[in-house]
């Protein structure tokens, strides 16, 4: 987790958080998020390159946060889930919307939202969260 006042750390993580950019080893086709600069499977034979995930996936597991860490009090209750991305890796992320409508196996798509505000005078951190794909109302 990003320390509240670490502006340089937020800046360094911006690209992966804004665009879900990870890496892919073109030797073994394994994808990584957050990005790895070295493929632990292929080691020196690895061919790691930047890889952008679509952000589409499904919920593997989730928890509803009712006792939040400092700075997230106003958002409760909110849901944090383990998402399996369509391209084949898992990450944890917030799922927006009513926690009661969230369930294991539901499909999700990415939305760009505020992550955290470092108080009224501090930095606003942004990134990708997820929302349930409404299967009953297809995009039109």
């Amino acid at each position: 987790m990003v320390h509240k006042s670490s502006v340089p750390l937020y800046w360094r993580l911006q690209k992966s958080r804004y665009t879900l950019t990870g890496t892919k080893c073109h030797t073994c086709n394994t994808v990584y998020f957050p990005p790895k600069e070295f493929c632990p499977a292929c080691r020196r034979k690895g061919d790691i390159r930047e890889f952008r995930f679509s952000g589409r996936g499904k919920i593997i597991s989730y928890t509803v946060i009712r006792v939040p860490p400092e700075g997230f009090e106003k958002y409760t209750p909110y849901t944090v889930a383990i998402i399996e991305l369509d391209e084949g890796t898992r990450l944890s992320g917030q799922v927006v919307g009513n926690p009661e409508s969230i369930d294991i196996g539901r499909k999700v798509s990415p939305v760009f939202r505020k992550f955290h505000e470092d108080g009224p005078a501090g930095l606003i951190q942004y990134g990708i969260k997820f929302e349930l794909v409404a299967e009953e109302t297809p995009l039109k």
Binding site: K15, T19, K74, R113, K114, F115, I124, Y126, T137
Partner: protein, 345 residues
Amino acid sequence: MTIGIVGYGAYIPRHRISVEEIAKIWGENAENYKRGLMVSEKSVPDMDEDTITISTEAGRNALLRAGIDPAAIGAIYIGSESHPYAVKPSGTVVSEVLCLGNDIMVADFEFACKAGTAAMQCCYGMVKAGMIEYGMAIGADTSQGRPGDALEYTAAAGGAAFIIGRDPLATLDDTCSFTTDTSDFWRRNMEDYPKHGARFTGKPAYFKHVTSAARMLLERTGTKPGDYDYVVFHMPNGKFPANAAKMLGFSGQQLQQSLVVTRIGNCYSGSSPLGLSNVLDVAKPGQKIFMVSYGSGAGSDAFSFTVTDKILERRDLAPTTEHYISKKTNIDYGMYVKLRGKLKM
């Protein structure tokens, strides 16, 4: 090759609060407000939504429709009166998220509710001058209305983005502006809520500027209201645009498709842009669109567009405005207070 809108996109947060729900809290007659404002409910941003996130989603949809390399966009201008930072441009975040590259001109615009259309004019001028290939103009807001004030019934959230360039889905035939120093609505630095001149916001402000800009453009283009298939006005409520249409000689039928205010409220800088996106969602090749925005302070930007064949191949590449209008969850006043950050923790 002509210049105009190459791609467009809308975004509206999903929460809605009804006029009844607000009127109940303040002991007001909801029917009076509904009749007077011609608004049934308004959109409310989630706690983690702001002008930057709304602009990003609208911009993403515009890129989907345009089908261009995002890095070919040479300028991004976001018009809003609710930029999250007083100092630090919204456009830098949006540009980075949409991968527009670093060879790009960025600035945030503010002119009350017409900053988004001012951004469109700038992009048009820069494309015409050959300075950039494409420019992205966005009008978006999470509007503020003081609790209990008449504005609370309409101040909503949403936005629309337009990519201006050549080979458009709607050519921008001409544009002009009418501007005066008229203080009908303002918000001082560090203040949470705007102040307004109540009835003064009508005749000497909205109507004078909207009709003056409209007449200027009709004269410049040698056209008359009957030459247009659709008309879009800034929508502080449902009544003002209806009256402006009548004063200028446009019919209710020409106005109807753009009147999104009745179901989502006044999205300020996103108001007329969302009206335009809702029209582009249904317009046919060859049809003409007349648009006049309004920003307090005060000024109006008028535009004439002609829809091209390209609309048919690009329209379905992103969600429609109606998709976002109808994708909604109604909330009560308690949740509204929480979502709008009116609770002191």
